[in-house]
């Protein structure tokens, strides 16, 4: 190896190591870098919210309502201004990152587990299993997500737990559809036949042969659904049926600022922009990860 490093001719023959290749693919992918940085930053913000927030996000001060942010003539006491109850906007935004990321992550994990198991089983076993799964997917696709979520929230009341469970139990369809199709492709490959011929058990084939070769698709769907769940939470909270006040949620902040939109547009623009940046970041990252992890790009 050290020879390869020193001797350019040898290096050319041997080629870069897999680690080098991976690094090159990651750092050569702009979208992945930007998306990854945005998401990583917001995750850090969410984790260290108590350290970063300048004020208690719940502390109201009716005397200091709707103070403008610094760039519109406000003071550094409240860099992003205050909301309609005099709560610090920056602090609420920082704590709101927790709500959004938590909902995105947990909803994607729950729906990912349900959808992946269904999709892989349907794709690998085919026949009756496939028929049942396809039927379930069709049933699920026939239900409009927002309406079902609204109905459930209306019956059970809005809370973080209800939101996460509802979204998790509703957003598995894309996992199932995508993984079913990719499993069917991979199932016919030689290495699967080879594994079968040496007597590997079905779980082993599924976990060691199938899963690693479809994981790139899984990653894309995970990020798509994360972004989807975050947007749905914001939409439901905007409608007043999501996370309940005073919990800081970006959708709720947009909803609360809506009434003053004509006179204080920043009340809507600030949480709206952050929401946009997070969703864009997650999508860019997912796209990049797919490119990096795709088997056809590995060499």
């Amino acid at each position: 190896m050290s020879d390869a490093m020193t001797d350019p001719l040898l290096a050319e023959i041997v080629g870069p190591t897999p680690g080098q290749l991976l690094r090159r693919r990651i750092f050569g992918h702009q979208g992945l870098l930007i998306g990854g940085t945005v998401v990583a930053l917001l995750v850090l913000v969410a984790i260290f919210a108590p350290l970063l927030a300048p004020h208690d996000p719940y502390a109201q001060s009716l005397m200091a309502r709707m103070k403008p942010p610094v760039f519109l003539g406000g003071t550094w006491e409240h860099p992003l201004g205050t909301d309609h109850l005099g709560r610090d906007y920056l602090s609420r935004l920082i704590y709101g990152a927790r709500v959004s990321l938590m909902i995105g992550l947990v909803a994607a994990v729950i729906s990912g587990l349900i959808g992946s198991v269904m999709g892989i089983c349907a794709g690998y076993f085919g026949g009756k299993v496939d028929a049942v799964v396809t039927f379930l997917i069709n049933v699920r696709l026939a239900m409009p997500v927002v309406l079902v979520a609204l109905a459930v929230v209306a019956i059970l009341g809005g809370s973080l737990t209800v939101m996460v469970s509802v979204l998790g139990l509703l957003l598995w369809d894309r996992f199932a559809v995508v993984l079913r199709a990719s499993t069917r492709q991979v199932r016919e490959r030689e290495y699967v036949a080879a594994a079968k011929s040496i007597g590997a058990s079905t779980p082993r084939i599924l976990l060691a042969e199938i899963l690693p070769n479809i994981v790139n698709n899984l990653i894309v769907v995970v990020t798509l659904e994360m972004a989807h769940a975050i947007l749905l939470e914001a939409a439901l909270s905007f409608l007043g049926l999501g996370v309940q006040p005073p919990t800081p949620s970006w959708g709720l902040m947009v909803s609360e600022g809506k009434n003053m939109m004509l006179f204080e547009p920043w009340l809507v623009m600030i949480p709206g922009t952050v929401l946009f940046v997070l969703v864009l970041g997650i999508n860019l990252m997912g796209d990049g990860l797919r490119d990096v992890a795709a088997p056809e790009n590995r060499s």
Binding site: Y58, A59, Q60, L62, M63, R65, M66, P68, F71, L72, G73, H84, L85, G86, G157, G240, Q244, P245, P246, E256, K258, N259, M260, M261, L262, F263, P265, W266
Partner: protein
């Protein structure tokens, strides 16, 4: 600087988006364009409970009596005079020569028909309390009528000057409530010439309006459109397609006033905001802290009502210390008052066995920001409150079953200037009574039915003092309404939350 630029841009964009295809409203057109946020439930005023319906009712119909909203003096409207024959019989001499909008002459038959129709419970008048104190009416001659009451009811004159309007008997018998809802006919200062439910109503000046204490209408035509979103209403005001909007939230009204292009008038209303607590322990909450008077007092002490009034409601809102509006007859204010004192609240909670506070649900149907402010104040003394934000009808239904432990609500008393319209509505052991205090109910029963004003005051005072001593409610504040209109409109709003087109004119 940047701030005002961005404001102007937003306004311009919004104005552009709505200006297309709208008639310009101004003095020259002779038509006043007004915007309402809510749709009418029903134009027939007996089948409506919305504020917008009350506004229409006062424009299209007349009652026998009229209460001057400024002096509170009762004047004859369709009646020339009235006398109490005995405690339960009222006799009216009717005004002659009045005709309905469709040409039908007004006489005793119309009064008898209307009263007998609405007093019959099976006809399903929406708010029974407005009419169920009347037993029947009888014609003495063409212009003399007697109304018989079920029992003594001293607020009768007040109700007759408010929700009880007189319908044309022949027309109403023919078309019924649904016909009246589509093509309303009355004797009032304005005729309804176009009714498109959910879109707009066009009222036209009644040229033959009788010499009524309401005054003569001046504005030719009024076009009222339903525009649910306040921001859209304001944008239309900017673009010139609306002349008048009302019920504008305090923050927006303040900004509009700063702009200096419109008249912003603020008037108090009879609507009172309050928090009721499950003092009788009807809800499934276990243990129920609200059954302890110390906890109820702590809740009273914990909320800084003055800060909410000063910063959120603003305008002519005032603190209210009783479950009624101070201008209402019998609504004495000489009661126990709980000023903001979080330390005392904490001490009372500790004494009641909740040193770390407790958790409960607060039900609310409007003003989520006020509810949030209240929740935040309660949080500071250790009471953790989850907000349950629902439709009014849903909460009312739960409340009737006694399943609401903690409720932020409001009551507008139908603008009836008598304490019975509020306190008796909630403390006489009815399904909405959370306190279920038999002493209070008995005092209220005496006060409601006595014809001697001194006795009424005495018993209302007793009841209200007991209610506040026991801290059954947290009476919060009165509401106000902001009216925003173009500077060429001349109008002075009245404190009863009724928009009167008759008193409007062009400058």
């Amino acid at each position: 600087m940047t701030h005002s630029v961005s404001l102007k841009m937003t306004i311009a964009a919004l104005a552009l988006s709505v200006a297309a295809g709208e008639a310009m409203a101004d003095k020259a057109s002779g038509t006043l364009y007004a915007g309402f946020t809510k749709e009418l439930e029903n134009v027939d005023s007996y089948f409506n409970s919305s504020r917008e319906g009350v506004v229409m009712q006062r424009a299209i119909w007349d009652g026998l009596i009229y209460r001057d909203p400024i002096t509170n003096e009762y004047k004859g409207n369709l009646a020339e005079s009235w006398t109490w024959v005995d405690d339960t019989t009222l006799e009216f001499k009717l005004r002659q020569g009045i005709t309905f909008h469709n040409g039908e002459p007004f006489n005793a038959d119309d009064v008898v028909y209307t009263v007998n129709f609405v007093a019959d419970e099976s006809n399903g008048v929406k708010t029974q309390r407005n009419v169920n104190w009347m037993k029947s009416a009888e014609k003495i001659d063409d212009y003399t009528v007697r109304i018989y009451l079920k029992e003594k009811f001293p607020a009768a004159i007040e109700f007759l000057s408010g929700p009880v309007s007189i319908y044309p008997n022949e027309y109403y018998a023919e078309v019924g409530p649904s016909g009246m809802g589509l093509k309303p006919v009355g004797t009032g200062p304005y005729k309804a010439v176009e009714v498109v439910p959910g879109q707009h109503f066009v009222l036209e000046k009644n040229e033959n309006y009788h010499d009524s204490p309401k005054g003569q209408p001046s504005i030719e035509k009024v076009d009222i459109r339903t525009i649910p979103d306040v921001n859209t209403q304001i944008a239309e005001l900017f673009s010139g397609s609306l002349d008048l909007i009302w019920q504008v939230p305090a923050d927006q009204a303040q900004k509009l006033e700063q702009m200096g292009q419109f008249t912003v008038a603020n008037e108090s209303t009879m609507r009172v905001g309050y928090i009721s607590m499950d003092a009788a322990g009807r809800s499934s909450m276990d243990p129920n802290p609200f059954t302890d008077v110390r906890v109820r007092k702590a809740v009273n002490y914990a909320i800084d009502r003055q800060a909410i009034v000063d910063n959120l409601l603003k305008g002519k809102s005032i603190l209210v210390n009783t479950p009624c509006f101070p201008s209402q007859f019998g609504c004495v204010q000489d009661v126990t008052v709980y000023d903001y004192n979080p330390e005392k609240a904490k001490a009372l909670l500790a004494e009641a066995g909740y040193p770390d506070g407790f958790e409960t649900d607060l039900y609310a149907y409007r003003n989520r920001d006020y509810a949030e402010a209240v929740i935040s104040f309660l949080g500071e003394v250790g009471i953790k409150v989850n907000l349950k934000y629902m439709q009014y009808s849903a909460i009312r239904e739960l409340n009737m079953k006694g399943e609401v432990p903690f409720n932020f609500s409001t009551w507008g008393s139908y603008s009836i200037n008598d304490a019975s319209a509020m306190v008796s509505q909630f403390f006489k052991l009815g399904s909405l009574d959370d306190a279920r205090d038999e002493g209070v109910a008995a005092d209220l029963a005496t006060a409601d039915t006595s014809t001697d004003p001194a006795t009424r005051i005495e018993y209302y005072t007793k009841a209200l003092q007991r209610i506040t001593d026991q801290a059954y409610w947290v009476p919060l504040f009165s509401y106000n309404t902001n009216y925003v209109f173009k500077t060429d409109v001349d109008y002075t709003p009245t404190p009863d939350e009724v928009l009167r087109f008759t008193t409007m004119s062009w400058k």
